[in-house]
Amino acid sequence: MSAGTGRPLVGARLTIVLAVVLLVPFGFKLATDTEPYPALVFPAGPGVVTTRDGIVQYDALELYGADASGELQQIDPVQFLEPIPTHYLRDLADSEFGTLEGDDLTVRVRRIGWTLSLPRPPVSDADREATRSWLGDRLEAVGLERDELVVRRVRIAADADDGTEISRETIEETVIDV
């Protein structure tokens, strides 16, 4: 504190409120892997890829739809999702683009194992049907049939020196009936 009246720039009470506002959401995220909104949290992305014997392995998501002859064609996610930002793809795929009948939302505290279950916001059959119809429209918009959307999780092996792809293996495939 400097010379003067002795009044700090921000008082103790507001400092405590600020600490709570900053620390509680971040602590919640660290403890449960669930991020509240709003929260003053920056993206961390603490995961890693592993390189062994000059080969780097990583996973990726791919979208496919059938053309008029029934052949699966890969879809550009940017074009397919517009106006939804492309980086929402992974989370949308997790929920099978809103067609999945989900269980309750569960928050689990790491290590301790406490769980909190809350009901998922209700989505009616009509809403789910409307979502399928929307997916069909998106498929048609990129020149494909509106029957199905295929989401593939692939594991890619690439040369660590120049990034050249060596192999690509499908590790999970989900077919969403549209």
């Binding site: 991020e35 890693v48 998501l61």
Partner: protein, 383 residues
């Protein structure tokens, strides 16, 4: 507790201070940047099917339980854009800034209800802190109804707003750095966090512009060093903030260069975030330009036209936050290029400010210059 509070805010105040008038210039820069490249855009959610609704478990979105009925978010866009315009030109600046904060929080609660939260909260925090700092006192319509101030001092209000914002910045980086510290700093040359961001973005999201390809073949030691440097840089914010006026600006300048590397390698735009760091730059060197009538008229005209374009675009269903651009993907590309320029300019200004005469003088101070009472710090003409 009160001793710690006084010590903490005293240190922070001495590190962040800028003249009051600088915030007036800063408001114009933030306002025009947002109007041109990052305007509020929530209306696209009006057209989304309800099945995609997947809000964070603790959020307004979860409480509401569904996307609002159309055209609620279109109306929110119109209100937010009008608030942004009013804030930029300085008409009822505090109220319009708070209105924009409210719109961003409400809109964010729904655009982040697709399972993914984007981390643009720092801009919202800045707006809140600047409303507290009353950044409408200079170069604003509000200023015409106030007694003339010289603005060469750093008043208590200015320092409160800046101190709170600096704390938010340092804390934000800590939240990114701590998890990386435990994930990336592993002493294992076979793992890489940087490569994970690179490959994920490139393969799934088509982020393959600029120099990402060059990183693929980088030596393992270099990649491991990049992981360590990133984690350590991100947790260093509070140390830099509490150390001195200069170290805080050097930290922000290095972070800005780190954002630049992110744009060039990972193709993730940080333009809007980097602009917020200008809060800590003494922008009074732009004051002579701000006095010129033709520039005032041009800036107001540009702001009004940009706001009008956005409102028309929202009604016309153009999906972009960038003025004169109609698709999200084109907006993303443009903000990458704009971000490169913004990062370069902001880093240069932060380095310049760190070694300016006022910065040097303040670094030499062992006592915080201002932490109490209604006092304020007067700036020399050179600062």
């Amino acid at each position: 507790m009160s001793d710690f509070t006084a010590w903490y805010w005293g240190r922070v105040a001495s590190a962040v201070r800028v003249p009051d008038a600088s915030l007036g210039v800063f408001r114009w820069i933030v306002g025009l940047y947002l109007l041109l490249f990052s305007a509020p855009h929530f209306a696209w959610v009006d057209d989304m099917p309800r099945g995609l609704f997947d809000p964070p478990i603790i959020s307004l979105g979860y409480v509401v339980g569904r996307f609002p009925p159309a055209p609620a978010l279109l109306l929110l866009d119109v209100v937010a854009i009008c608030a942004l315009l009013a804030m930029t030109v300085g008409w009822k600046t505090r109220a319009s800034t708070i209105m924009l904060v409210a719109c961003r929080l409400i809109g964010g609660s729904f655009i982040y209800s697709f399972g993914k939260i984007d981390h643009d909260i720092l801009l919202t925090a800045l707006l809140l802190c600047m409303a507290l700092a009353d950044w409408g006192r200079f170069y604003s319509l509000d200023a015409q109804h106030r007694p003339t101030e010289r603005g060469e001092e750093s008043s208590r209000r200015t320092q409160q707003g800046l101190a709170l914002f600096a704390t938010a910045v340092a804390f934000g980086f800590l939240t990114a750095g701590l998890p990386k510290l435990f994930g990336w700093v592993d002493g294992n040359l076979e793992t890489s966090g940087v490569l994970r961001w690179l490959y994920n973005g490139r393969e799934s999201l088509g982020r393959d512009q600029f120099f990402g390809g060059a990183v693929s073949g980088a030596p393992a030691l270099l990649l491991e060093s990049a992981d360590y440097t990133t984690a350590l840089l991100e947790i260093a914010g509070f140390a830099a903030l509490l150390w001195s006026y200069r170290s805080w600006r050097v930290f922000l300048a290095i972070v800005t260069l780190f954002h630049l590397a992110n744009i060039l390698i990972l193709n993730i735009s940080f333009g809007a975030q980097v602009v917020t760091y200008l809060a800590f730059v003494n922008l009074c060197f732009l004051r002579p330009a701000m006095q010129r009538t033709w520039l005032k008229i041009s800036a107001v005209t540009l702001a009004v036209l940009a706001a009008a374009w956005h409102i028309v675009a929202r009604i016309g269903n153009f999906e972009s936050q960038t003025v004169l651009v109609s698709t999200f993907e084109r907006h993303r590309e443009i903000t990458l290029y704009v971000g490169i320029g913004v990062c370069a300019v902001v880093a240069a200004l932060l380095f310049r400010d760190a070694w300016s005469r006022s910065g040097s003088a303040q670094t030499a101070d062992t006592e915080p210059a201002v932490s109490s009472g209604e006092s304020s710090v007067r700036y020399s003409a050179e600062s």
